[in-house]
C-alpha cells in the first residue's frame, strides 16, 4: 500500500511506465506537479513528471464539454461501418471499458504495441515456451543471455533490480553471475557488475539473428556444424555459449520483442524458445520476454479473458473474430478500411495515432500534440497518477496496484468509454 507522509510524499509507488513495474518509488506531489524523488530513472521520471497542459476536450479543435465530446464519439460509433479501438494504453478498467464498447459497437480491437507483442504471442500459440518471472531471476539467474535487445534503454533498472541485487535467497555469489549479449551490444554500463566485470558481447546484425540462433540451438542439441562462422561470429564462440548454457543451473534468456524489429521475428523467438525447452532436458533454463510498458500486457490479458483472444480481434459479426494479420490497425488504416479510429494513449504524450484518413478520436494524455488534429480529443487521466488502477508487469503473473496521486479532475478512460457505451 502506498503510504502518504505529511509533506505530500508518497512511498512505495508503482510505475506503470517501466514494464518491470518498479514499486519502490518515492514521489512528491505539489498541486499537479509530480517529482520522482527516489528510485526514478529516465523512463519513470518522464512518465510521472510530464506536466498537465490542456484539460478541456476538443471537437474539431474547438473546446467542448466532456458531455459534448462523449455524445460526439457515440454519434461517430453509431454511424461507423468499421470502427477500430486501438492504442489501448490504459489500465485494467480502461481496457474493460474498451472491450465492452468494442463488443457493443462491433469494432476491432488492437493495441499500439501489438506488432511487437505478436512476435511473442504467435510463438505461444504455435509451440509454447518455458518462461520465468522477475523475482525468480533476481534470486536464481546464474547466466543471463540478452538476445537482440539493448534492454537498459527501455528497462533502465532491470540490472539493478534483477541481476546486481545485493543478495540471493539461495546464497548465490551474485558477483559470479554471467551476462552475455547476443546480437546488439549494450549502450551503457548497466550490465557491468558492481565489481566491474563487463558483459560478454557477441554482436551480429539483426538480419543474421535468425541464423545465429538456429546454430546456437543446433549446438545445444549436440549437432556438428560444418560452417566456421555465422553472421560474422565464429562457431567456436557459439559453441562455448552453448556449453555455458548447458552447464548453468538456472540460465535466463531475455529479449524485448520491440527490439527484434525485422520481418517474421516470431520465427526467431520460436527458435530461442524451443532451444530453452531443449536445455531443460537436463538443466533449468527459462525465457524472460520483456514488454509490458504502458499497459501492453494489460490490454492483451483483459482481451484474452473477455474474448478468448489477445488483441487484433474484430466483433463485426457479433462475436470475436481473431486474425492477427487482418486486424492489424496499421494495415487496416493504410488500406483505408477504417472509418472511425478510437485511439487510447493515457501514458505517453509521444504515442499519438498513426496518420490515416479515418475520423479519429483520441483519449490521450494531457500535453499530447498532433500533426493532424483529431476530430475528438479528450485529455484523460493517467492511471497511477490521476486515478487509481491496476497494471500487469512484463512477466505477466504480477499485477500491481496504481494509486491516485493528485486530484487533477481529468476523467479516466473507463469513465469516458463507459459513458460512450451507455450513450450508444
Amino acid at each position: 500500500m502506498t503510504e502518504m507522509t505529511d509533506s505530500e510524499m508518497w512511498l512505495e509507488v508503482s510505475s506503470p511506465f517501466c514494464g518491470i513495474a518498479s514499486d519502490d518509488l518515492t514521489i512528491k506531489v505539489d498541486g499537479n506537479t509530480i517529482t520522482v524523488v527516489e528510485n526514478g530513472d529516465a523512463v519513470t521520471k518522464k512518465g510521472f513528471e510530464t506536466p498537465i497542459t490542456d484539460t478541456s476536450p476538443r471537437i474539431n479543435g474547438k473546446d467542448a464539454s466532456l458531455e459534448q465530446a462523449v455524445k460526439h464519439i457515440a454519434d461517430l460509433f453509431r454511424t461507423s461501418k468499421q470502427p477500430v479501438i486501438s492504442g489501448m494504453a490504459t489500465d485494467l478498467n480502461g481496457v474493460r471499458s474498451a472491450m465492452a464498447l468494442a463488443d457493443k459497437s462491433r469494432a476491432t480491437v488492437d493495441s499500439m504495441d501489438s506488432t511487437a507483442g505478436f512476435r511473442n504471442t504467435l510463438v505461444l500459440q504455435d509451440t509454447g515456451w518455458m518462461v520465468t518471472t522477475l523475482t525468480e531471476v533476481r534470486n536464481r539467474v546464474d547466466v543471463l543471455v540478452v538476445v537482440g535487445s539493448d534492454i537498459e534503454q527501455d528497462y533502465p533498472r532491470f540490472y539493478e533490480r534483477m541481476v546486481w541485487n545485493k543478495e540471493s535467497m539461495f546464497d548465490q555469489d551474485i558477483a559470479s553471475r554471467e551476462v552475455v549479449y547476443l546480437g546488439k551490444a549494450p549502450s551503457g554500463d548497466a550490465s557491468t557488475s558492481p565489481q566491474g566485470k563487463k558483459a560478454q558481447v557477441i554482436t551480429c546484425d539483426d538480419a543474421d539473428l535468425p541464423e545465429v540462433l538456429s546454430i546456437l540451438r543446433a549446438l545445444v542439441k549436440g549437432k556438428n556444424i560444418q560452417a566456421k562462422q555465422v553472421g560474422g561470429i565464429d562457431i567456436s564462440v557459439l559453441a562455448t555459449l552453448a556449453e555455458q548454457l548447458k552447464q548453468a543451473k538456472y540460465s535466463v534468456l531475455t529479449w524485448s520483442a520491440a527490439s527484434l524489429n525485422f520481418e517474421h521475428a516470431e520465427a526467431t523467438v520460436q527458435t530461442l524458445c524451443e532451444m530453452i525447452k531443449e536445455l531443460n532436458a537436463t538443466t533449468r533454463s527459462n525465457g524472460l520476454p520483456l514488454s509490458g510498458k504502458e499497459g501492453s500486457v494489460t490490454a492483451s490479458y483483459v482481451s484474452t479473458w473477455q474474448s478468448g483472444y489477445p488483441m487484433r480481434t474484430n466483433f463485426n459479426r457479433g462475436y470475436p473474430d481473431y486474425d492477427p494479420y487482418l486486424c492489424d490497425t496499421n494495415r487496416m488504416l493504410a488500406a483505408d478500411e477504417v472509418d472511425v479510429l478510437l485511439w487510447i494513449s493515457s501514458f505517453n504524450i509521444g504515442r499519438t495515432p498513426p496518420k490515416s484518413n479515418a475520423k479519429t478520436i483520441v483519449l490521450g494524455r494531457s500535453g499530447m500534440t498532433f500533426d493532424q488534429e483529431p476530430e475528438v480529443f479528450i485529455p484523460i487521466g493517467t492511471p497511477g497518477i490521476d486515478h487509481a488502477g491496476r497494471t500487469f508487469r512484463s512477466d505477466g503473473s504480477i499485477a500491481v496496484p496504481l494509486r491516485k496521486l493528485r486530484d487533477s479532475g481529468l476523467p479516466s478512460t473507463f469513465d469516458v468509454l463507459t459513458a460512450v457505451e451507455q450513450a450508444l
Binding site: 500500500m1 502506498t2 503510504e3 512505495e12 508503482s14 518491470i20 513495474a21 514499486d23 519502490d24 485494467l92 463488443d103 457493443k104 504471442t121 505461444l124 500459440q125 509451440t127 509454447g128 515456451w129 518455458m130 518462461v131 520465468t132 518471472t133 523475482t135 525468480e136 533476481r138 534470486n139 536464481r140 533490480r161 534483477m162 545485493k166 535467497m169 543451473k249 531443460n280 538443466t283 533449468r284 527459462n286 492483451s300 490479458y301 483483459v302 484474452t304 479473458w305 473477455q306 474474448s307 478468448g308 483472444y309 459479426r317 457479433g318 462475436y319 470475436p320 473474430d321 481473431y322 491496476r390 500487469f392 505477466g396 503473473s397 504480477i398 499485477a399 500491481v400 496496484p401 473507463f414
Partner: protein, 555 residues
C-alpha cells in the same frame, strides 16, 4: 418483493429433505418463512418439478494466470465455439478455456450458482480476482496456494513453530482474499526449480531438506487450528505417474487424522499392473476413503475429447509435455512462490490409458460409499470442460448408459476394470449432496447449498426426466440471490455474484519478518502485494462475503 415457488419436490440434503413437496418463499434474496400480511408478488408453479439449491463447483479453473495462458494458446479451440452477443449477453468463446463472461453464463444455464478457483498463487491472486470479477452471475472464491513458496520452506527449514506458520497462512489467505488453502505437489514445484524431476512423499527438497509429508502436515494443521472451514486442499505428489496410488494411500495415512481434501483423485489412483504397466487403484483408494472420515475427495473425471490441462504443478506438467495435443505447451516458474504448466490434451476412447482413466474416475464415484465425501468435478478443464457435467451426472445415475459407453472403449482397458460389474446408480438425493449440500459444507459456505430458512435464494428447478443429461443441461428455472436468471434453460437476466472469503486471525508480528523478506528478495513491496477489499468491490459490481470460521485450535 415476495416470490413463491409452489409445490416443488424439494431435495435439500443439508436438512435431510428428500423429495418432499413444499413451497418456498423468497424475499430480498433469501429463503424465508411464509411471511404474514405480505402480498405474494409472484408465484411460480413448480408442481412436480425437482427443486434443489443452486449447484456449487468446488474445483474449477476459471480464473488466473494459467487459465489465461490456456486461453491465449488455444485460438483454434475457441474458433469452434464462439458465442455471439445478444441483447443480454456479451460475446465470447466457450469449450475448453472459455472467456470469463461465457463461463458465467454457461454455469448459470446449467443451474450452477457458484464456482471456486482452486489454484491461486498469492502473487497472481490479483489477476485471479480480476477474472472472477468479470465472471457473471455465479459466486466465486479461491484457494490460495502455498507449499512450494520459499518463505514457508525457509520457515520449515528453520524449524519455526506451528504458530508462526499459522500466522503466515492466515496472513496470506487474508491478503490474497482466499476462502481456502491449496497445496500442489507439496514442495515439488520448488524442487523443480532446483532441477529435481520428481519428489516422493518422503523425499527431501535438496536445498531445504524438507519433505512433502512435513509440508502437508504443517499446512493441514494450520488450516485446522485457524478454524478455516475448508480443509487443506491437496493436489498430491506424483500426479499421473503409474503406481502413484501408493503415494496417495500413504498421504491419507500420513495426515494423521487431520481434515484433508484430496483433489482430482482419479489422477492419483494408478497402479502398475498388467501388460501396459498401468492399472486401476480405485478399489484400494476408495476403501481408504471409506475408512478415513477426515478425508474428502473430488474425482477429476476425464471425458473424451479435446481439452487443455492447466496446473500449478510445473514439475508434473513438464513431464507430461510429450503428450501435448496439439503439440504446444507452457511451463513457468513464478516469483519464488509457485509455478504452472499448461498442456493441451486430447483424451481418446481408443487409448488404453485414457479409457482406463475414464473407468478409474467412475469406479471411484461408485465405490466411495458416502456422497458427503466425494465431489463431482472434471477438474475443469483438465479432465474435461465443466459443460460436460450433465453427461457425467447421467453416467453416475444410469448404469445402462454407462455400460453402453464402456463397451465401446479400448477392449484391453475394459478387461482391466470391473466397472461393468458395479451396480450402483446415484439417486437425485445423492447428486444433490455431491453438488450442493456437501460442496457448500466443504467450502465453508454457511448460507449456500441448502434451502433452509435464511439461506441465500440460489435455487435450481428441473423437470424430472429419465434422461438425466437432458434434465441437468436445461433447468426450468435458476434463481440467483432470488432473481430469476434462467428460464427454460435460457438466460434471462445477468447479475453479478459475490466473492466468498475467510478472514482467519493472525498476529501482525508476522509482518516483521515478511516486510524485510519482500524488500530483500522480492520485486514487489509487501504493501503492494496485499489485495484490498476495495479491489474486490472494484467498479461496484463486486462484493465480498466473509464466511464464518470454525472454532479453531491454538493460536
Amino acid at each position: 418483493m415476495l416470490k413463491k415457488l409452489t409445490g416443488g419436490r424439494i431435495y435439500d440434503p443439508a436438512h435431510g429433505v428428500e423429495n418432499e413437496v413444499r413451497d418456498i418463499y423468497i424475499l430480498d434474496g433469501r429463503i424465508v418463512k411464509r411471511p404474514d400480511g405480505i402480498r405474494i408478488d409472484e408465484e411460480i408453479d413448480v408442481r412436480g418439478k425437482v427443486v434443489m439449491a443452486g449447484a456449487i463447483d468446488m474445483h474449477t479453473h476459471i480464473g488466473g494466470g494459467k487459465v489465461n495462458i490456456a486461453r491465449t494458446m488455444l485460438p483454434e479451440d475457441h474458433a469452434a465455439d464462439v458465442i455471439a452477443r445478444t441483447e443480454l449477453m456479451r460475446s465470447g468463446c466457450g469449450h475448453a478455456a472459455p472467456s470469463t463472461l461465457t463461463a458465467g453464463y454457461r454455469y448459470a444455464e446449467m443451474g450452477y450458482t457458484a464456482g471456486f478457483e482452486p489454484a491461486i498463487l498469492p502473487s497472481n491472486a490479483r489477476q485471479a480476482h480480476m477474472e472472477m470479477h468479470d465472471t457473471p452471475i455465479i459466486d466465486k472464491g479461491g484457494y490460495v496456494m502455498l507449499g512450494s513458496d520459499d518463505f514457508l520452506l525457509r520457515m520449515m527449514a528453520a524449524n519455526k513453530d506451528q504458530e508462526s506458520i499459522n500466522n503466515y497462512v492466515a496472513w496470506t489467505m487474508t491478503h490474497s482474499q482466499a476462502v481456502g488453502l491449496k497445496v500442489v505437489n507439496p514442495g515439488g514445484i520448488n524442487a523443480f526449480k532446483f532441477n529435481q524431476r520428481k519428489l516422493d512423499l518422503d523425499e527431501k527438497n535438496q536445498f531445504y531438506g524438507v519433505t512433502p509429508r512435513e509440508i502437508l502436515l504443517r499446512l493441514a494443521r494450520a488450516v485446522n487450528e485457524l478454524g478455516v472451514p475448508h480443509p487443506l486442499h491437496v493436489h498430491g505428489c506424483n500426479l499421473g505417474v503409474p503406481g502413484n496410488m501408493d503415494t496417495t494411500l500413504d498421504t491419507i495415512q500420513g495426515i494423521e487424522g487431520l481434515p484433508m481434501h484430496m483433489t482430482h483423485i482419479q489422477f492419483h489412483s494408478y497402479g502398475t499392473e498388467g501388460d501396459f504397466k498401468f492399472s486401476s487403484g480405485s478399489a484400494q483408494i476408495a476403501e481408504a476413503i471409506n475408512k478415513h472420515k477426515n478425508v474428502t475427495v473430488d474425482v477429476g473425471q476425464i471425458l473424451f475429447g479435446q481439452t487443455v490441462t492447466a496446473s500449478g504443478d510445473s514439475m508434473r506438467q513438464f513431464a507430461a509435455h510429450p503428450h501435448s495435443h496439439p503439440n504446444k505447451w507452457v511451463c513457468m516458474d513464478i516469483e519464488c512462490e509457485a509455478g504452472c504448466g499448461v498442456v493441451p490434451f486430447k483424451y481418446k476412447d481408443q487409448s488404453y490409458v485414457n479409457a482406463l482413466q475414464w473407468m478409474i474416475g467412475l469406479e471411484t464415484f461408485l465405490m466411495v460409499d458416502d456422497p458427503w465425501q466425494v465431489f463431482l468435478t472434471t477438474d475443469h478443464p483438465n479432465g474435461a470442460p465443466f459443460t460436460s457435467y450433465p453427461h457425467l451426472i447421467r453416467l453416475l445415475m444410469d448404469k445402462t448408459f454407462r455400460n453402453d459407453i464402456l463397451s465401446t472403449l479400448h477392449p484391453e482397458a475394459q478387461k482391466a476394470s470391473h466397472l461393468a460389474s458395479l451396480e450402483r446408480e446415484y439417486s437425485l438425493y445423492e447428486i444433490a449432496i455431491m453438488t450442493r449440500a456437501g460442496a457448500a459444507k466443504l467450502v465453508g459456505l454457511a448460507d449456500r447449498g441448502h434451502l433452509g430458512i435464511g439461506g441465500a435464494a440460489d435455487i435450481t428447478v428441473y423437470t424430472d426426466d429419465a434422461d438425466r443429461e437432458k434434465m441437468f443441461s436445461t433447468p426450468d428455472y435458476v434463481f440467483k440471490d432470488g432473481t430469476m436468471v434462467v428460464k427454460d434453460g435460457n438466460l434471462i437476466e445477468v447479475t453479478w455474484g459475490t466473492t466468498h472469503v475467510v478472514k482467519p486471525e493472525y498476529d501482525i508480528s508476522i509482518e516483521k519478518s515478511l516486510k524485510p523478506y519482500f524488500d530483500r528478495y522480492h520485486t514487489q513491496k509487501m504493501g503492494n502485494f496485499k489485495i484490498s477489499n476495495d479491489e474486490i468491490v472494484d467498479d461496484g459490481r463486486g462484493s465480498l462475503t466473509v464466511q464464518p470460521l470454525h472454532k479453531g485450535g491454538p493460536i
